[in-house]
């Protein structure tokens, strides 16, 4: 069965050729120092102690900013496609699962919050924390027998925009204050980053839940 699906064909031959090329190239990649050195050097001005967070929110903060924008745009795109169907018959079933999920949710919320906070100095950060919070929200949706009522549309939109907005506001403020676009004054860097992280985490969590729901809420009261 499997063989028939991936039968010998021009496509397969081309894939194999590409695989061969890639393997040869990848095994031959020269050793190069990467950016570990520059990152380590700049860490004392980064405002946070954890390199990955420093890269995400400071050195390459613009990437992260646009990434939040991607998330938000994904929700908007889905909303533009129409209203959502109700979530179909629970994929997760049985009382045991529900019970487990319900107990997991508070743990996940705490974990998520902790991850956001700890991101400044250790593994963790807005995305991981937000993701765990979002996953918790999704689990909640899955575990409830009926759909959870969502907050009003305006609040949803506000929450959704929070991360991008915080980033944009801080970035623009930096521009106006003479630190350049996306620039933080070193003294405030830690607090600004933490603020952005919090806003981003809320947005990410909400966005993931909204992505999961798929489509605008079914109440006709909002929008249009």
């Amino acid at each position: 069965m499997i063989r028939r699906r991936f039968a010998l064909s021009p496509a397969l031959l081309m894939s194999l050729a590409l695989a061969g090329l890639l393997i040869v190239v990848v095994l031959d990649l020269p050793p190069q120092p990467g950016l570990a050195g520059p990152v380590a050097q700049a860490m004392d001005q980064a405002g946070v102690g954890h390199p990955v967070t420093a890269v995400l929110l400071n050195f390459r903060g613009y990437d992260t900013f646009l990434e939040l924008a991607v998330l938000m745009l994904a929700v908007l795109s889905i909303w533009s496609l129409g209203r959502r169907d109700p979530i179909p018959a629970r994929p997760v079933q049985g009382p045991v699962m529900h019970g487990t999920l319900r107990h997991l949710i508070p743990v996940a919320v705490v974990t998520g919050g902790y991850l956001v906070w700890v991101g400044s100095s250790d593994s963790g950060g807005a995305f991981q924390g937000g993701a765990v919070l979002g996953a918790a929200g999704v689990m909640l949706m899955l575990s409830l027998p009926r759909e959870m009522p969502m907050p009003p549309a305006l609040l949803q939109r506000l929450g959704l925009s929070l991360g991008v907005f915080a980033f944009l506001a801080v970035g623009t403020a930096g521009l106006l204050a003479g630190h350049g676009f996306m620039g933080y004054p070193p003294a405030w860097a830690y607090h600004l980053i933490l603020g952005i992280e919090l806003a981003a985490a809320v947005s990410i969590a909400l966005t993931l839940v909204l992505l999961f729901l798929g489509g605008r809420s079914r109440k006709v009261r909002h929008d249009r």
Partner: protein, 106 residues
Amino acid sequence: MTVDVISPQIYLLCGVLLFVLGLHALVVRRHLLLKILAVNIMGSGVFMLLLGVAARGEGGIDPVPHALVITGIVVAVSATAVALVLMLKVKAATGLARLPLSGPED
């Protein structure tokens, strides 16, 4: 020290193969859900390549690819979510979760 040298190589190879596997499935498989999964597998392959490169670095672990991959994962989930909703809309509109072979002349 051998682990430091050999393990990343293993993952580099694995990443490349995942990428090609996903690419092939994306071209060959016709169900939209599988196509979407295939894209995700391709992405995972690239992420693995990036992290393999980071682990192999001379000056210690390189945090930049880590940040890139986190960004990439978020972008991937966004695209996947949109693709899934679109798939459902296509299914509702055409009754098929596949793409018609030739473009409809609307």
